[in-house]
Symmetry: C2
Subunit: 283 residues, 2 copies
């Protein structure tokens, strides 16, 4: 059990971290840090947090574990201040969806002062956001990717892993930051950009067709209702891996279009059968 957990950014992810830590007794005291005291009140009022503050340094000081749960570009921006304020034996983690820039920033800071940083990325979320949709079971059964850097002490990796397991994660997968960024570009960031484009292509060029949209379209574009601020930051933060993932997608699409244009039912069906088998193979 942690003596003190500090959660910076009490929205969907940070709020869910605090709720599960409270519910599962993972920390004795839970401190919430945010920019707007009024927006922190509901988490204080419902007993999720013991204390709230808008003073970042005061909030993270003396915490055993600091979880940065602000939008991905803000994590990099806040890191130097958190680094300065953290206790010598504190462990820092985050929940950002793109990792290379954050891990590199932590490594540069670690050259000045040895603070234990280990990146995390819980593969859980919602197209909705904010503390009002936070829930203690958000991480239940989820995969959490933990991305140790060269300067991450093994004991800190262990602590962060144990924390996510305690929060209900189905499994914790260790990946280096670059591998993480390419993997999440492929299975999350490219699909989000494509879902936005699917929605936008119809809205702009065939708006009347939306009137007959059925479940297939709703499912495929559900994530196009995600929070714009969050996804604008993710796309920009993971631009390089996103570009590479888009190339893979566009190559696969061009191959399928070629089969359709060739009008060869046997070859087209073989390709769809192969893809269907991959989709059915998803655990």
């Amino acid at each position: 059990m942690l003596r003190r957990l500090a959660v910076v950014g009490v929205g969907l992810l940070g709020g869910s971290v605090a709720k599960v830590a409270r519910g599962h007794g993972l920390a004795r005291e839970i401190v919430g840090v945010g920019r707007d005291e009024r927006r922190l009140r509901p988490a204080l009022d419902d007993g999720t947090l013991d204390r709230v503050t808008t003073d970042l340094a005061a909030g993270v000081r003396d915490a055993d574990l600091i979880v940065l749960a602000v939008p991905v570009l803000a994590i990099e921006t806040l890191l130097p201040a958190v680094w300065r304020a953290a206790a010598d034996d504190a462990v820092l983690t985050d929940v950002g969806s793109a990792k290379r820039a954050i891990v590199e920033a932590a490594q540069r800071l670690a050259a000045g002062r040895a603070v234990a940083f280990v990146g995390s990325h819980p593969m859980a979320g919602s197209e909705r956001s904010g503390f009002e949709v936070a829930r203690p079971d958000l991480f239940k059964g989820a995969t959490v990717i933990v991305t140790p850097g060269e300067t991450s002490p093994p004991a800190a990796v262990k602590m962060v892993t144990t924390f996510w397991e305690g929060a209900g994660a189905g499994r914790v997968v260790l990946l280096d930051a670059d591998t993480h960024d390419r993997a999440v570009a492929a299975i999350s960031h490219v699909p989000h950009l494509v879902a936005y484009a699917l929605m936008d292509g119809v809205a702009r060029f065939q708006p009347a067709a939306l009137d007959v949209a059925a479940r297939g379209f709703r499912d495929t574009t559900r994530i196009a209702a995600s929070e714009s601020t969050m996804w604008e930051e993710i796309f920009l933060a993971n631009r390089d891996a996103l570009r590479a993932g888009l190339r893979d997608f566009e190559r696969a699409l061009a191959d399928l279009v070629r089969l359709v244009e060739a009008g060869d039912p046997v070859a087209l069906r073989a390709a769809l059968d192969r893809i269907k088998a991959h989709r059915e193979g998803l655990a």
Copy 2:
């Protein structure tokens, strides 16, 4: 109430048509036509059908309403034989996902003999197929597009519309075949091809990433587990409208990629906000 309903092709859609007709008392006798007598047996055994036959002409003769529920390319192929066998006062409809070629074929046949044909496309389905997944509530609340041609008698349009309403459709929308084909390309055929490409791009070029795929990826690629035979036919049957829909999608995607590459957070967020609003506007 119909005296006799003939369903040609007793799979997911045809089986569901027969089940709801039975359950809602839409027809006194329901005849199922298929190529393989053994595969028709379950629908006879469970009381969905009164009679089954592999003889198309015998099966549709004397039916008031004939529903062609075979794969989309087979509808066009079977149409001349159904046309010859149908009673003078029979009404023919189908459930095909692409309409121009079918409606044109019906119009050519109508020049020889006046049989009432009115195309239908119930916007309901599943990534699974076959009579074993057919259910009487498949059309409940669904949109059904009905595509009258120049030679469709108004009384037949009314009868087909009434039939779908009786089957539980939430609403029946009348569209001409070309408008239908463009609309379903936009909201169904392009999303399916894109979902296949998303799945394939990761499976071929980033297979390890599938290990961390979460709900967003599953939802976006769910329809890539659809039946290959069906979708191979739909893509080929609706190739022209699919090509046009893909151009719209690719234009929307290129615009988003340009905003990401420009690194302009304000413009990118404005675009995502606009798209999110469209997605939230889907009924």
